[in-house]
Amino acid sequence: MTCASAAVAQSGRAAGTPPDIGGVYQPISNATALSGGLKNAGFLSDLPLTPAAVQQMKNVDLKEDPFKKCQPLGPFRMMARPDTKIELLPEPGMIVMLFEDLEHGVMRTIYTKRGHKEKLDTTWMGDSVGHWEGDTLIVDTIGFNTDTWLNDTGAQHSEALHLTERIRPVLSGKYLEYKMTAEDPKVLAKPYTYTRYYEKLKTEIMEDVCADEE
């Protein structure tokens, strides 16, 4: 019996039924180690930027940081933040991800019954499509505009940014294991992956309005 099938059997779900990942989650601290040694890994300060991308970053005015202007950060940067509280809403044909920090996270819609559109307008959040492989939701996102940054120090990305996320419940569903991989041949020398563990909460998402820095 494979790990995936064992997990399905243990959960009591019918075979082929994806797990219910709906709920409110918050990332664990980087100092925390969960059972089995599960820990957050990968921090955006060590992105494998190309030399040209490093130079570009040095020329960025940090006052223009979207974070400081209450603008969206984009999925890559947002999901790595230590204070990102998310709400997952599985619905027919899609999974909607909402953020308590609404201005910075906004919302993401992961479409599970279609592939990428042939003609994509570039957007802040990109176009996300997903499918299940056993207990793991695989999300593929392309179609980004260039208004977001990769990290807090101004690393830029191009419209070629391609994100792959692998999301699965672990430790009896008390946590989500979240792996994010970014590829952008115009900026990154090689693909970059980080891992975060999100704890499932029993609290509600509260209203959190961004106050831009004066």
Binding site: L89, V96, E103, Y111, T123, M125, E204
Partner: protein, 266 residues
């Protein structure tokens, strides 16, 4: 004619069968009600404000549509609220114009579109103008929280009455306007809504009958109705991204104008 013993037995069996049928039928009706209570309607989808062309051929008629809602609200304002409205700068004091939160009273009834999402114990409405109108979560499994902190969108709780969702929202801050005419409200505002799904013509609509009360800002409650048409499409991304540095310039100028104007308003 006398009934034989066999005939009496047959009658007894028939009576028992009839009584049993009534009992089982009663259980069936109760099950049906229980099923309705535990399985509320699923209205998941993308909805946009129905315009005249969407409602043509139906008997659905919005109450106080478009700018009629401004007139309706102004007619209910207390004198102090009307005075405040007159000194408010409609450009520089509009938080929505610079992509900040501006509450749920303006966008939804005037140009609203939203995703209606169902989840255990709640319904989540994600507005298309997410920067300004944000998200409205209607909790079905609790009452209003005690010691509510005032927020832009308030605290919404709901319950089903048959096929109608009844929503009660309190806990608003006083920073938003009741409509684009800059009509103010206070933290005493209460929004009561009755929402049901209808089919008219070849389309599905959500009907929202809203009652707004505010014992401090309004002389009496006002009521309006809106229809939202279900659309077979994906809600597009709509990120507001105005240059926020303009805000500071507008704000400083507007503050001076408000101060000068306040001297003139009686």
């Amino acid at each position: 004619m006398r009934t034989t013993r066999a005939g009496m037995t047959t009658i007894k069996i028939a009576v028992i069968a009839i009584l049993a049928g009534w009992v089982l039928a009663g259980i069936g009706i109760a099950d049906s009600k229980d099923n309705q209570q535990t399985a509320p309607p699923d209205w998941t989808g993308f909805y946009t404000l129905a315009r005249a062309r969407d409602l043509a051929g139906t008997n659905l008629k919005p109450v106080a549509p478009d700018y009629d809602l401004d007139k309706l609200i102004v007619a209910h304002l207390q004198p102090w609220a009307r005075a405040k409205m007159q000194v408010t700068d409609g450009t520089a004091d509009d938080t929505g114009a610079v992509c900040k939160a501006d509450g749920i009273f303006r966008f939804p009834p005037f140009a609203g579109r939203f995703l209606w999402l169902s989840a255990p114990g709640k319904i989540v409405m994600v507005f298309g103008e997410i920067n300004t109108a944000g998200v409205k979560r209607i909790y079905l499994n609790r009452d209003h929280r005690k010691n509510l902190l005032p927020t832009w969108n308030g605290d919404s709780v709901g319950h089903w009455e048959g096929d109608t969702l009844v929503v009660d929202t309190i806990g608003f801050n006083s920073k938003s306007w009741l409509m684009s005419g800059m009509e103010p409200h206070t933290e005493e505002t209460r929004l009561s809504e009755r929402i049901r799904r209808l089919t008219a013509g070849n389309s599905t609509f959500l009907e929202v009958v809203a009652v707004v009360e505010d014992r401090l800002a309004l002389t009496s409650a006002y009521t309006f109705t809106r229809y939202y048409k279900k659309v077979d499409a994906e809600m597009p991304e709509n990120i507001c991204n105005e240059d926020l540095s303009l805000w500071k310039g507008w704000r400083n100028g507007a503050l001076k104008r408000q101060f000068d104007r306040a001297k003139e308003v009686k």
